[in-house]
Symmetry: C2
Subunit: 535 residues, 2 copies
């Protein structure tokens, strides 16, 4: 493919992409292929001689599209959104064209410098305090995902905790061998913490870093961590000789978009460190992967002011709800030294005059991989194209859709019950059993709950199977108290308030059918029992 063939191919690709976006509403949002569908459609192996772009391009519609779930569809209301935008796509085009493994400043100074500038701009946009800007001792870096950010800060937290413990032991006059023994014991006792509502990536991060993970249970209905719960857990760990060194605190949990109580958690950690003056600091990380985008709005912009009192790091994904194509996770730390101390290894062939003089940021020391893509380009294009106003309008549109959906749920108490406070465009609710059956068990709470869960699960499964919209189910609490719930969240640029209203109508129509079936099955069951008794 020479450059003129590429020009033609790329123009054809752009036309196909435009058509995809213009008509995405008509596609079934959730792919309904069976596992293994694609191997049946494709020839085995790589062809001996090259193929023409026209033939390859045809396969996108014919073979790839049936297996796509369309995250940019106005009918995609599952998980959290993974925003795309036209300037975001342009950013990825240039990034691909410049293809380089920009692992240090010299590899392409623009890749490093634009990232610092864009992340400082975004920090201002979301009102993140000065401490997290590159102009202080902190700064931001683009990671691929919030889960990579979490592994990275767990490792930095672990190594900072160990380093400070070693310093203390050395001051106390312990020998090197004694210190090594104590480090070995310490490693085996270090615990990373997260609430039962925190994203599973904290647990995975702990596994990768080779430390323990423990869950702090939140209250059903509230689902937020607070200072008292953290205090109890720390005391419990200490009584068992375990060592808390890291905690994930969440702004907008995955199951219900709950926000942990930053003020009381900050107070607890502060008291803990005052009463334990020789204990190294527990690293607190704020995971705002999805809801962090809401901080662009003035009505949320007071939230971050408390962060510096307790949080060593903060992360949110521009690729979720801020119009920047996946992947673009923005990790901010209060003290960049913590990352570099843990992760820097500079071999000879990566040294150069500027890194040696400490004049430049080498982001490879702020992350797990060595190589880096030019991801700040897309964030730059997006923020410039939309401007502060456009970014705010986008997030407000998501919130308006969520609020419209909440109103519909609340106006239909016969069918629906919200199981958590709606937040950041997310509604989490369950479906009641048909009124007739509900009445039968109104005095048997356990049976009522069981039926709620069953009906909710049936409705959730049926809605996705029919594929007009795509929604997610979640389970809150555990054991006998477990609640099955449906999560509905918009947030893709294509999702308008009317789409949420349509979604409500679609779900309600399914509820009615499921209710009918439930009643019919129940009556058939009752009849059968009568007949059996009659035999």
């Amino acid at each position: 493919m020479d450059s003129s063939q590429f020009r033609q191919a790329a123009h054809a690709a752009i036309d196909q992409i435009v058509d995809y976006y213009d008509n995405i509403r008509d596609r079934r949002v959730l792919s309904d292929v069976e596992p293994g569908y694609l191997r049946q459609l494709l020839p085995q192996g790589i062809p001996e001689t090259g193929e023409k772009w026209e033939d390859i391009q045809k396969d996108i519609e014919a073979k790839i599209m049936p297996g796509m779930t369309h995250w940019q569809s106005p009918n995609f209301l599952a998980f959290f959104p993974s925003n795309s935008s036209f300037p975001g796509i342009l950013g990825d085009m240039y990034s691909a064209a410049f293809s380089c493994a920009a692992f240090n400043w010299q590899c392409s100074p623009a890749v490093t410098e634009l990232e610092t500038i864009v992340l400082d701009n975004v920090a201002k946009l979301i009102n993140l305090p000065e401490e997290y800007h590159s102009t202080s001792e902190g700064g931001g870096v683009i990671h691929g995902t919030a889960s990579e950010a979490i592994v990275t800060v767990i490792v930095a937290a672990r190594d900072r905790y160990i380093a400070r413990s070693k310093e203390r032991w050395a001051e106390e006059g312990l020998s090197e061998d004694e210190i090594e023994d104590k480090v070995c014991t310490l490693r085996g006792r270090m615990v990373a913490l997260g609430s039962d509502q925190a994203h599973s990536s904290t647990k995975k991060g702990a596994i990768i870093a080779g430390v323990r993970f423990q869950t702090i249970e939140t209250k059903i209905g509230d689902y937020a961590l607070n200072g008292e719960l953290v205090k109890q857990k720390i005391e419990d760990l200490e009584s068992k000789g375990l060592v808390p060194f890291y905690i994930t605190v969440t702004l907008g949990t995955t199951p219900t978009c709950a926000t942990d109580d930053f003020a009381s958690i900050s107070a607890t950690l502060s008291t803990y460190h005052t009463t334990h003056p020789t204990t190294p600091k527990i690293w607190a990380h704020i995971d705002a992967a999805y809801a962090g985008a809401a901080l662009v709005l003035p009505e949320y912009s007071h939230i971050p002011s408390i962060f510096p009192t307790f949080a060593d790091s903060f992360d949110f994904n521009m690729h979720k709800w801020l119009l920047t194509n996946f992947d673009c996770s923005c990790l901010y730390v209060k003290r960049r030294r913590d990352l570099i101390d843990a992760l820097s290894i500079t071999p000879a062939y990566l040294r150069n005059e500027y890194s040696d003089r400490g004049l430049v940021t080498d982001y490879r020391d702020w992350q797990i991989p060595l190589g880096r893509r030019f991801r700040s380009l897309k964030a730059w294009f997006v923020t410039r194209t939309f401007g502060v106003e456009g970014l705010r309008a986008h997030v407000r549109n998501g919130i308006a859709g969520g609020e419209a959906f909440t109103q519909l749920l609340e106006a239909d108490k016969e069918r629906y019950e919200l199981v958590s406070k709606p937040a950041f465009a997310l509604n989490v609710f369950r479906v009641n059993p048909p009124p007739k059956l509900a009445k039968e068990v109104e005095n048997d709470k356990k049976e009522f709950e069981r039926r709620c869960n069953e009906v909710t699960r049936k409705v959730g499964d049926r809605v996705n199977k029919e594929g007009k919209i795509f929604i997610t189910q979640t389970v809150l609490g555990k054991g006998e108290e477990a609640i099955t719930a449906i999560r509905v969240v918009g947030g893709a640029p294509a999702v308008q308030v009317q789409d949420l209203r349509n979604a409500f109508a679609i779900i309600t129509e399914v509820v009615d059918r499921v209710w009918e079936e439930e009643v019919r099955e129940h009556e058939a069951g009752a009849r059968e029992q009568v007949e059996l008794q009659a035999v």
Copy 2:
């Protein structure tokens, strides 16, 4: 930006990209901006209202380009290449357009299934034995970088070693508490191994996984690991109570493209496990990040047949030398269960019918991050567009360039000395001191070496400062024996044999100037001494 504005903007972007590739030769390959250049060029903050694409696009040439080092330039002969190709760019365009965090099969079945198919095809292309294909107990997965692949396998190796140790201790009748104590001690003693020529990512991977790292020193001039060196290191570790559990073995090291001696390493590991029947298996990982691409050629295709005798995993980057835009690192494992056992965490909201039934691959359990991009698209477009023939021709072109450069070096023994055997298109050499000065110190080896290093460093620095070509320096060995050398490697699709010949002429011209200066400085120094003595 609506879809018709995007169509226009994207067509303009494509035209700019085509122009960039068509005229890349005219650009200074290595950016010569000073640190901080970009902040001076850009306004502070995000604009209140959005900007037009025309204005944003202008800034790419005006503000970004000066800070780019052009990895696709025919004058880029540094590090290893980071190949780009037109079908690769098309792949990234579609991937951006489909923007989704495809963390499980259902999120977009095509993303998972195409990846499995493409990686099986690539495995066949490079003659990787059946054991590493998805049709056996193994399989391939696309990671971002070879360094992420290494962290991932170190974690899997660590957890497999610990799990098997626990099983053994349970069989021996130890109590749970005793086992926990022993695991704690074991963790503190586990050592990941790599040669002094292995990529630094093994050391970084060990840091992240919280285990020790030790280096095995190779012989100067050879730079390859072999079974005897591995045996000695294992015995040394055992005598100190340390526990080797992982080793990186390299096909094409970063400094010199040396290849470790697979046969003798395999024999050593096999003997070790025969004589230590209760010791869990040491995980061997083959890092072929760059040179793995050469396995597409029939003349190298015998190499992988020995892999299954000792290697648990193998990784190579299609984004280095196989025409696929960064990032696309192909990790293959012999037993996918090892990755899943270490990394799987499946929370309720990620469960679905197909994953529950085990019918589908959930690649999130094969990697650190949760979310995944649609990276197999570009690998698919690239392999189909080039075909087996085209891919081979590309690698052959790289090798031909390297061989031409070797011939030029060997024909000029006055100026140059190869410090390692040229391999996989890489030449590593040093520059001799000017003949006049060399003669003076011909009996003082230490001084001769010092002068070689100094002249080589000067030439390397000067060549990059002048910026006609971009090359890398490396340091081999350490202390007094350290050799400074220049690395020259092509591999970008634009680099032709003639470009390597031009590079040789450019370097030689710089050598002559540096030589002249050296002689002049030396004579000036000598004159000054004479004058001083005369005073």
